[in-house]
């Protein structure tokens, strides 16, 4: 059983979801307001936090912002359906993925599993510390510590952004297809009209800024995917 925290103010819904998720192999704890959600999430007991944006007290964004100060526990945001801004904000604050609510519980489980698979991979990396650091021009990726240094200054990155960047950097100078990137970084198939990958890349571009040559570091190769540009070499 995988311990997860489900934070949503709709008690009837959390009851139903608890029932559903326990059948799928999750051990669900629930929180019904922002403060208790934050307190429980900080405990370090959970492998995943499912966080609804609309909650009394602290809302989902506030919880996420405060949680990220000390914890890198994977977070799946449930955003209000019909609000595209929410999803962007959630990702910028460091959510690993988002789902508009209401949603099909099967889709929810698929997203949860994808996030868990990904964090398993990274924690494997953590324990083994097999991979060396990646270095390209003024950019350094410490895969073990999951830190990004630009000109020796650390950059603040979400877990997903870090994963996307590490994949692109590993294949620097090559085009990485969107399908592959989605599979590896988000842990799921690329589906039409899903813009979350584009959003992660767009956030990455903003954080990395332009290269020393004054060019975009990550370019879009139309119809195929993304490419991390190698400097002069």
């Amino acid at each position: 059983m995988i311990p997860i925290l489900l934070a949503d103010d709709d008690t009837e819904l959390t009851e139903l979801l608890t029932q559903y998720l326990s059948q799928e192999g999750f051990e669900v704890s629930t929180a019904h307001d922002g403060n208790s959600a934050l307190a429980q999430a900080r405990s370090g007991h959970f492998e995943l936090v499912v966080l609804d944006v609309m909650m009394p007290g602290l809302n989902g964004f506030d919880v996420l912002r405060q949680l990220r100060v000390e914890s890198q526990v994977p977070v799946l945001m449930l955003t209000a359906r019909g609000d595209d801004v929410d999803s962007v904000v959630g990702l910028e604050l460091g959510a690993d993925d988002y789902l508009p609510k209401p949603c099909n519980p099967r889709v929810l489980v698929a997203h949860m599993r994808a996030i868990l698979r990904r964090s398993e991979n990274t924690s494997d990396n953590n324990t083994r510390e097999a991979k060396p650091d990646l270095q390209l021009d003024d950019l350094q990726l410490q895969l073990g510590a999951r830190r990004v240094l630009l000109n020796n200054t650390p950059l603040n990155m979400t877990s997903t952004e870090f994963t996307v960047l590490s994949i692109l950097l590993e294949h620097a100078g090559e085009v990485v297809s969107k399908q592959e990137l989605s599979q590896q970084a988000l842990g799921r198939e690329l589906s039409p009209y899903d813009r979350s990958l584009d959003m992660h890349v767009s956030n990455l571009r903003k954080k990395l800024g332009l290269s020393a040559q004054g060019e975009e570091r990550i370019t879009t190769v139309r119809g195929v995917g993304y490419q991390f540009m190698k400097g002069q070499s």
């Binding site: 609000d83 801004v85 813009r195 767009s202 879009t220």
Partner: protein
């Protein structure tokens, strides 16, 4: 005097009174001045002048010229100047009052006697000379050996005669034009000015600007038009309230529908989990319909959010990349339904936009086009930058049946159905185009629909864009 009724009434009444007053005053003054005694300088002077003229013509020219001159004079002068012969007949055959006939016959006799008796008498000549100065009308004018006397008939000046003389009638006409012109101009301006304002406000409201009001523009005016304006404002306010509450209701209802829907979906999931084979078809159908309901609620909420949104967070984007991505996704979806998506033209263009909003707007249009294209057909997407106007013209054309001309503007309204039969099957235009319209307008663009030949519908989007600066 606040009521418009009284204003109109008084202005017409006053202008008529003033006109009548002034023209009476003028005419009576004029008549008065003419009719006063012959001693008065001006009429006497006039008479002398005319007599001199008549004598001159009589001397140098003939009777015909004299007649012409007299006709001319008659037209010009309010006072009838008669030229009478010895028998008392007028040269122009005008009616001659009896007293003038008598006067003429008197003059004729006296002159006749004088001439016979003392023609050469010096004293008489002097006397005659004096006569000519003091009583010139007694001296005949001689033409073709006929004697004529020029007499001014001061007593038969009538209003009728006056009004027939253009020089005389000019005065009242001018007065009428001036008085009524000023009054009518002011009145007309006063009446139409607020009406123009009202009309402008009505136009604004029909164009969707429900904030248009008239009363503040009318200042301190308090009459029927001001009341109308204030009624109009009340109406606009009520309209705005209704529309807002209508939007609010839609938004609130959608919000509230989400919670039960979320529970419904989970409950359905539990049912499927327990026994995946039981009622499989029915549960799948329930799942599909729940998904549709979910989409609809999502669209309703997007629309109400867009309606309330005033400004956007934008960033520079590659418009062509965005179009390409959407075209690819749409192609993926369309090919599953034996339809194709063709990207005809997509030059590199930049745009300042909100990526999420603009993509969802374009997606809505493209997916709509797929829905109305028959199997085996294709959707054509064509993007072009007009470098002159700095506008991207994007057209998305389907091969569907098109829509009636009258509906071309209405398909951007929420839930508009174009024709019964066709839309039951396809679900109508729903909210997709409404969302697209709001999103495009928030980006400072314009969206319109046109039928294409031989068939199909084109959605055309014009939106500000620019060439890459490099």
């Amino acid at each position: 005097m606040r009521s418009l009724y009284w204003k109109i009434f008084i202005s017409f009444w006053l202008s008529l009174l003033i006109f009548a007053g002034i023209s009476f005053w003028f005419t009576s003054n004029y008549l008065e001045s003419i009719r006063t005694e012959t001693e008065q300088t001006s009429p006497r002077h006039n008479y002398r002048m005319y007599r001199l003229q008549a004598e001159k013509i009589a001397l140098s020219q003939g009777i015909n010229e004299l007649r012409d001159w007299l006709k001319e004079l008659d037209k010009r002068e309010a006072v009838p100047y008669l030229l009478l012969d010895e028998t008392g007949e007028d040269l122009l055959n005008r009616p001659v009052p009896l007293r003038l006939q008598q006067r003429v016959s008197r003059y004729a006799q006296r002159r006749g006697n004088d001439n016979e008796q003392n023609n050469a008498d010096e004293q008489q000549t002097r006397h005659e000379h004096r006569d000519h100065d003091r009583r010139p009308h007694t001296i005949p004018i001689i033409v073709d050996n006929q004697r004529y006397w020029l007499l001014a008939d001061y007593q038969s000046i009538s209003l009728g005669r006056l009004l027939h003389r253009p020089r005389v009638i000019m005065i009242p006409i001018l007065v009428a034009m001036l008085v009524s012109g000023i009054v009518c101009y002011l009145l007309a301006r006063y009446l139409t000015w607020p009406i123009t304002r009202l009309r402008r406000a009505a136009q604004q409201i029909s164009n969707g600007n429900l904030n248009a009001r008239v009363t503040p523009l009318l200042g301190k005016r308090r009459d029927e038009l001001a009341e109308l304006a204030s009624d109009f404002d009340h109406m606009a306010e009520r309209l705005q309230e209704l529309l807002n509450s209508h939007k609010q209701l839609l938004s609130d209802a959608s919000h509230e529908l989400r919670s039960p829907l979320a529970r419904l979906q989970v409950a359905l999931g539990i049912a499927q989990q327990r026994n995946p084979e039981a009622n499989k078809n029915e549960l799948q159908r329930i799942e599909l319909e729940t998904e549709r309901l979910n989409d609809l609620i999502g669209q309703l909420l997007s629309l109400s959010r867009l309606d309330n949104q005033q400004q956007l967070d934008t960033e520079p984007l590659d418009f062509d990349a965005l179009v390409e991505t959407i075209a690819e996704d749409a192609r993926y979806e369309a090919q599953a339904q034996q339809r194709n998506v063709i990207l005809v033209n997509n030059p590199p263009v930049k745009i300042d936009a909100n990526a999420a909003l603009l993509s969802s707007a374009l997606e809505n249009v493209v997916r709509n086009a797929i829905r109305y294209t028959p199997q085996g057909g294709a959707i054509e997407i064509n993007s072009q930058l007009d470098t002159g106007t700095q506008q991207i013209n994007l057209s998305i054309c389907d091969q569907g049946p098109g829509i009636p001309e009258a509906m071309l503007e209405k398909i951007f309204d929420p839930f508009v159905r174009v024709g019964e039969a066709r839309d039951r099957k396809s679900g109508g235009y729903g909210l997709g185009l409404a969302i697209a319209q709001r999103a495009v307008e928030l980006h400072g663009g314009h969206i319109s629909a046109n039928n294409r030949t031989p068939q199909g519908l084109c959605i055309e989007i014009a939106i500000p864009g620019y060439l890459e600066s490099k």
